[in-house]
Subunit: 415 residues, 2 copies
């Protein structure tokens, strides 16, 4: 990188941060979560509109990756493991049904469209994803992370992310023409769940007593925060190496550090890093949208739009119905279903895999991408709408959630 | 960037942050500023030792660039413009003598070594640089940013950075065989100083009243911090575009925001971002060192080491003597001279320019690089030593400087 390139990146970073803030603020003004505005800012900056932000740029991609890692770490820090385990049964049911049902519906749509068996499997798989990042951020924006419904969503979304990785490795094998044995599936599954379990148990046994060690209590806030961030990056890195996902590792690190005496100090410090990095992730997700796919005046798009429409219906119904799966859970099941709808970056990874393995042609890729985008964009306003109707259960946002403090919620005009 | 590359960067980032913390901590344990440890960590991780960190990597380079921008913003926030202007005369004299004297001495060494006129000019120019980043960080590590000597160093170092840019553009013109007219020199000079002056004056007139606007007072700390960081990135970007340097723009932004009611809130928030980004810069400066140049068992190095030795003497004497130039300034002039010695990344930019313009051969490049490295590494312990002797003038570190709080200074063992 030479000097002029560094200058260009500085300008680009500024454009991303400023537009994310601005459009995020406008979204809040019309009563929507800020994340919706950040996604829209990304679409505007992306290659198909202003052409400023290339979602595949190496530097921006890595900054965005750091953003989602820090977001999941922050969410983990706010999550009470006991509460999460308490709703674990319901979350597991939602996750399982939320994988099987969208897969079957997506598969059926493809067979109806006469797309062939392999294409139907990969499309079905791309419908199983849940973007824990989008969902968690919306819940955080709304100050509702501590609701029981939110705990179910969070647990199910994390499980879905693990399941999604398993499905991705199996489907990638199928797409490459490999034989997929039950042993391979079992091994992948054991690895993915094993890491999450092992990280939380070992981390808790080792880190919680260490954090009570007296000299560590006297550290400056910046030092404690950086040690915590390095712990999260370490877990994220190990999770990636172990065949799980970086964000699962970061979430596990957050769960562990949610139980140390310095939790509040760490939450505060991380909120500043999150303020910088997290919007970069959502802007890059938005920048991956190619709005030209949605142009109905182009005849080539009509078949794609029809397919996309059917897939969107399958994707929404599949996840929404999954929210009603845990019969014994008392709470607003519509909220759970709505929280599982956004496919976000996870859906894009599936679509990209299908394209690069030459299973998808351009039209199929566009239809799947459109499904990912629509499910991602409808979830924030839908959750907001359903939660507003459910106001009586509202809890006040925790001290951590400084992205939207109570004063900002009640009087957005003062910002 | 694909998935495996993102994982590799995550591991690399972790290695950089962790080793910077660890070696920085060890440096503090032996009574040295943490920045010295971070530079050493960089040398160890660099291509000539462990081979992990490539200083020219695009992603790391940009993160490091953000690090030095945030550092100078942080330093600007801690700087009282009136105090700085109060010692402005002394700073200007130090800057001027600190450019002329090292240039003349470096030129003389080259002529003595029979290196030719053009080489002598470029080598002389590379001796004029001062790394405001290294110096400011050492003063901050030692909790002495508010000393009068420190204000002179800071002012002179900033002026030197501006002068350095002017010299760089002139010398680059000479190296490329262009004619350098007085008009060109005057234009470059006007642009460089004009930006600094214009940014501070306009910024103060516009931003300080705006910051007192009531609704802005009720913002969350993370929001205020991010607005301030965007302001700094904007100034850094504009400075680059205007032909000045990004760090000059960031410093000017800090000077402006040092006068708003939210300064303390911003300082606190920025300290968390600095804890993440700033070490990346110093590790990358360290990683640019090729230790093989210093191997005396290789006969090819001996001539280079002799030349480097002479250049180091010229570089140290030139800047150290400049500290004694302001006759009417009352204070420890040895501290001022010592503070001007490190060439850091600015010296490397000159060396790189000489190499890429084919003015330097490999041996000359190595000698200049060795001069840059030695001056960079001796400045932190030298300043620490001179300041310890000058303890009676010490002021307590400001609340901002959380990298080394009083408790850490007195009892490093508790960390």
């Amino acid at each position: 990188m030479d000097h002029s390139e560094a200058v260009r990146f500085l300008g680009l970073l500024l454009a991303i941060l400023a537009s994310a803030r601005m459009v995020g603020y406008l979204a809040q003004r019309i009563g929507q979560p800020a994340v919706l505005g950040e996604l829209v800012a990304g679409v505007l900056l992306g290659m198909s509109v202003l052409g400023l932000v290339d979602a595949h740029d190496k530097v921006l991609y890595f900054l965005a990756e750091l953003g989602v890692v820090i977001l999941l770490f922050e969410i983990g820090l706010e999550t009470d493991l006991r509460k999460l385990l308490h709703v674990g049964g319901a979350a597991a049911v939602v996750a399982a049904v939320g994988v099987v049902l969208p897969f079957v519906l997506g598969y059926a749509v493809c067979i109806y469209l006469d797309w062939g068996n392999l294409v139907a499997v990969v499309v079905g798989a791309s419908l199983t994803a849940t973007s824990v990042g989008i969902t968690a951020r919306v819940l955080s924006d709304l100050g509702r992370l501590q609701d029981r419904e939110s705990q179910v969503i969070l647990g199910a979304a994390v499980l879905d992310d693990v399941l999604g990785l398993i499905i991705l490795s199996i489907v990638a094998g199928l797409a490459a023409g490999q034989e997929v044995t039950p042993l391979l599936v079992a091994g992948t599954t054991a690895k993915a769940f094993g890491f999450l379990l092992g990280a939380v148990v070992l981390g808790t046994l080792l880190v919680v007593p260490l954090a009570r060690w007296k000299p560590l209590g006297g550290l400056a806030g910046t030092t404690t925060t950086m040690l915590a961030v390095m712990f999260a990056l370490g877990f994220a890195w190990l999770a990636s190496l172990a065949g799980s996902a970086a964000i699962i590792g970061a979430f596990a690190a957050g769960l562990v550090l949610a139980k140390v005496p310095q939790t509040h100090q760490i939450q505060q410090g991380v909120s500043y890093l999150a303020g910088f990095f997290v919007p970069l992730f959502f802007v890059l997700v938005g920048a991956a949208v190619d709005v030209r796919v949605f142009d109905p005046t182009n005849p080539a798009n009509r078949q794609t739009l029809l397919a996309a429409g059917l897939l969107i219906v399958a994707a929404v119904i599949g996840k929404f119905a999954a929210g009603y799966a845990p019969f014994r859970f008392h709470g607003r099941k519509s909220i759970i279903g709505a929280g599982m709808i956004p496919r976000g970056e996870v859906g894009l990874i599936f679509a990209q895999m299908g394209l690069s393995a030459a299973v998808f042609d351009a039209a199929t890729f566009s239809a799947v991408t459109a499904m990912v985008m629509v499910t991602t964009f409808i979830a924030p306003p839908l959750l907001k709408f359903l939660m507003a109707r459910n106001g009586r259960n509202a809890q006040s946002p925790s001290g951590l959630d400084q992205r939207q403090t109570p004063s900002e919620t009640t009087a957005p005009g003062t910002e």
